[in-house]
């Protein structure tokens, strides 16, 4: 009995310390992003809350098992100078221990599946419903080897670029965005057997969606903070599925801005596009 109490007390103390550190981590970072380091979207927040919840339980479970193992290894070891002998207790079964363990692990796993997994998925699915995405900004995303191409059909922007001509994604804060994701190369649209799987990932948004050749995927989310790649490099579009030699370079800058700044940017893009098209004397998708 004394050993059981000792394990329990050590677990309470060591586990308590570990939980204190865990909670400090959870409450750290901008907007309590904690373990996610930087979260700036509604879907990312769903994942973050699930992560925080599981982390607290995982740390407690980890500490319990480690304390049981370490305590046994220290307390029941054959000490220096002692002769190895048969263990005094040869108990091969303890219904209470086995019962608590099995029932406990079943209950915990069911709990984790209901919350945060199923409840989190409810929140994710709800965020994808049309009624929650009224007035969504549509961004067509074409993933090709190796480039992200963003176009804004509602504003007639065919390929959003920054002043250096690199692809860039601009989003107004707190407005739903509908990403329409295709693995497609506008410059080589006759070579569809060479299209590969990419994965559209913005680390700061806490979500990625695979982009599969021959399929159109939709992803709805709401950017919740004004930020940009310059502010934090987690705010970037990054391909997350290996797609050939250029995979590491397949990234693009992201700017989340005020609605006013977004409107100004749209005008700037239109101007830029018109001047390019005037230069080339054509209107098409050769950009």
């Amino acid at each position: 009995m004394g050993d059981l109490v000792a394990v329990f007390v050590i677990w309470l103390v060591a586990g308590g310390l570990a939980e204190w550190a865990t909670v400090s981590w959870i409450n750290s970072g901008p907007w309590d992003s904690g373990p996610y380091f930087y979260v700036a979207s509604n879907l990312g927040t769903v994942g973050l809350h699930a992560f925080d919840f599981l982390l607290e339980f995982a740390v407690a479970i980890f500490m319990l098992v480690v304390v049981m193992i370490a305590y046994s290894a220290v307390r029941f070891r054959v000490r220096r100078g002692e002769r190895p002998s048969q263990a005094p207790s040869q108990s091969r079964y303890n219904g209470t221990f086995v019962g608590v363990w099995i029932v406990g692990s079943i209950v915990l796993n069911l709990l984790f599946w209901i919350h945060p997994t199923a409840s989190g998925l409810e929140a994710v699915y709800a965020a994808q419903l049309p009624q929650n995405n009224k007035n969504a900004l549509i961004v067509d995303v074409a993933a090709r080897q190796w480039e992200w191409i963003f176009s804004y059909p509602q504003y007639g922007i065919q390929q959003a670029v920054n002043n250096q001509g690199f692809d860039a994604l601009w989003l107004p804060v707190n407005r739903p965005v509908e990403f329409v994701l295709k693995s497609y190369d506008p410059a080589h649209n006759y070579e569809n057997i060479d299209y590969v799987i990419h994965s559209f990932w913005i680390p700061a948004f806490g979500v990625k969606e695979d982009v599969v050749p021959g399929q159109t995927r939709y992803l709805y989310l709401i950017p919740t903070h004004i930020t940009s790649t310059k502010t934090n490099e987690m705010v970037r579009v990054q391909c997350a599925e290996v797609c050939g030699g250029g995979h590491p370079y397949m990234e693009a800058d992201v700017h989340v801005v005020t609605p006013q700044a977004f409107a100004a940017w749209v005008q700037h893009q239109k101007h830029l596009q018109a001047s390019i098209l005037n230069l080339e004397g054509i209107v098409g998708d050769e950009s």
């Binding site: 050993d3 980890f62 048969q86 799987i197």
Partner: protein
């Protein structure tokens, strides 16, 4: 000529002859000397010629045609370089081949970690070269080390001894299969000759379809390695079912034998699936068929791959879980706790492992498929936990000798616990959206495979070293090495979780600058870890030949492999053992394992 030399020579000749013959059939002016088709035909011919050369001609091919078996094994150490039907020779051949794979793939990993110390290319000429290195590392580690060392190596050597028989049911099958391991490792390692491949170890389509021809050697190498594992599984399953000594009932079957039985069943179920998948991929390239590109179904390949790919990780770890509960009762001199629960855990892991594959594809599959797959993924932790239940119950109030094998088992339990708990986060779909394909995943599976399986394999090597060689390792240096790799391992792969959360994705030799400091520390720890494994290899090598002479049964274990002399004699048991008691019953009043009257019975 040594059989191994003859095999290599015949293989090379067959490759060039059949490669040239294929070109003769297709003599278009544009054909290069090595085309996709000719290389494939040449490779299959080389494999058959090589297997004939190492001894298959005399021992297998001749008897198949009704001629006599004229194979004679070379004496002494030279028998390890040719075909052998002795399960102990085959087991050691497997361990050496697998260790060779570990060395090759480990050196590749060191090169990768060196590259990752900078956010720009250094030792790799291109990002594709780096991706080829990733693919070679992963493929060789998974198919020739993780699924092979414990099953083909320890399994072939120990299972017949543990169940009290002198030979396996199909000794020639294992004798041949072991030679496919170096052949497969070489095939994969030589893929850069054909241009390498950028898909990593998973060979994702449709990228594989537009990859260079190195992907052929990826497919073919895996065909060789999985064929090897399949043949072992056939042999060991049959042996465990039909060759148990009298008294080794199912209720008394040793834990390690249970582990090998369950993974062998997994191998028998799932290896044919992945082999068919790779043959389809091969045909897709050679014909081509448009199965898995945008005109077919790219996601289909992902399903086919992970349908095998997830049971595979349990093929890796189930023998490790079994080794924990094999070693702990012996070292604690305490009866194995809740043995039926531990066995049921292995069996349920085996059954559930076929229901979880799509958790590798949460960012890809339909929403309707996410909940069931996350359900089974979370539930599989319950039977996996039974291994912990039995181990902790056994440790409790034991008389534990904390020596090198024990220490490595406890470390393996610690590491695998982290591997399992980090899997809990991956099983949660909204979290998976963020950490999928980041270094979190890489950290997670290295914790389960290195932390779980490799640490347990080292524990097993130390535990059974007196059995293999009749000599004992040095306790101080064994513990020293164990602590060394434990610290270096956790310093390396613990960092991976943080890197993943901070936005470090997989398959990138070039990455944003803010991740540099973390990567530098990770790489330094990785080099220390690599040196630690070399240290263990050197120590084990030294102990094998120069260590102190060990007692016949230095640990006082009760399982059958320790009831014969050490090192194991040529004939395992001169008289068939008859088992009269449980192998894991300790205590002063534990009945003897062997039936006292076995001498008279054997007559």
């Amino acid at each position: 000529m040594a059989p191994a030399m003859r095999g290599v020579l015949w293989g090379l000749v067959a490759f060039f002859v059949f490669n040239a013959a294929t070109l003769a059939v297709d003599p278009s002016a544009e054909s290069p000397y090595a085309s996709q088709v000719s290389v494939t035909v040449g490779w299959f011919a080389a494999m058959i010629a090589y297997l004939l050369g190492i001894g298959g001609l005399e021992a297998v091919a001749r008897p198949m045609f009704g001629l006599s078996d004229t194979w004679r094994e070379a004496p002494g150490w030279r028998r390890y370089f040719g075909f052998s039907t002795d399960h102990k020779v085959v087991g050691l051949q497997y361990m050496l081949a697998s260790a060779g794979g570990f060395l090759v793939a480990g050196l590749v990993a060191m090169a990768m970690r060196y590259q990752l110390m900078t956010p720009y290319l250094t030792i790799f000429g291109s990002t594709s070269d780096y991706l080829t290195a990733v693919g070679i590392h992963g493929t060789i580690m998974m198919f020739s080390v993780a699924t092979v060392f414990m099953v083909g190596g320890l399994g072939n050597y120990l299972v017949p001894l543990m169940i009290g028989t002198n030979r396996t049911v199909f000794p020639k099958l294992s004798g041949l299969s072991v030679w496919l391991v170096p052949f497969g490792i070489l095939t994969v390692a030589l893929s850069p000759l054909l241009g390498g491949f950028t898909t990593g170890w998973r060979g994702y389509q449709p990228l594989a379809g537009s990859d260079t021809n190195g992907i052929l050697f990826y497919y073919l190498g895996i065909v060789a390695l999985t064929t090897s594992s399949f043949m072992v599984a056939l042999n060991l399953t049959t042996t465990i079912i039909f060759r148990r000594a009298p008294g080794v009932t199912w209720n008394r079957l040793p834990m390690f034998a249970w582990g090998i039985l369950t993974v062998s069943l997994l191998n028998l179920i799932w290896l044919p699936e992945i082999q068919i998948t790779y043959l389809m991929n091969l045909a897709e390239r050679l014909v081509p068929l448009n199965l898995f590109n945008a005109n077919g179904s790219p996601a289909m390949y992902l399903d086919l791959f992970w349908l095998f790919g997830h049971p595979e990780v349990y093929i890796v770890v189930v023998p490790a879980l079994a080794v924990w509960n094999e070693i702990l009762p012996v070292m604690g001199k305490k009866s194995l706790f809740a043995r039926p629960v531990a066995v049921l855990g292995l069996v349920f892991v085996m059954l559930l492992s076929g229901l979880v594959w799509a958790h590798h594809m949460f960012t890809n599959i339909r929403a309707t498929e996410q909940l069931p797959f996350s359900f089974f993924t979370e539930m599989i932790s319950i039977p996996t936990g039974f291994a912990y239940l039995a181990a902790i119950g056994t440790l409790w109030r034991s008389r534990l000798q904390v020596n090198t094998p024990t220490l490595l088992v406890l470390m393996s339990m610690f590491n695998f616990l982290i591997g399992g708990l980090t899997g809990l986060f991956l099983a949660d779909v909204p979290i998976n959206y963020q950490i999928h394909n980041t270094f979190w995943v890489v950290g997670h599976f290295h914790y389960t495979i290195i932390g779980g399986m490799v640490f347990s394999s080292l524990a097993a090597m130390y535990y059974w070293l007196p059995k293999f060689s009749g000599r004992m390792f040095n306790e101080f240096w064994g513990k020293f090495g164990a602590i060394w790799i434990f610290i270096a391992f956790n310093a390396t792969f613990g960092n991976f979780f943080v890197l993943g959360l901070r936005g470090m994705n997989r398959w990138v030799p070039v990455y944003p600058g803010y991740l540099v400091p973390e990567n530098v520390w990770t790489s330094i720890a990785a080099f220390v870890l690599g040196a630690g494994f070399l240290f263990h290899a050197a120590h084990l090598w030294w102990a094998w030949y120069r260590g102190e002479k060990a007692d016949e049964n230095p640990w006082g274990a009760r399982t059958l492999e320790w009831q014969t002399s050490s090192p194991t004699p040529e004939v395992n048991f001169s008289r068939p053992p008859i088992v009269a008691a449980n192998f894991y019953s300790y205590g002063d009043d534990a009945p003897p394992v062997l039936w006292a009257g076995d001498a008279s019975h054997a007559d």
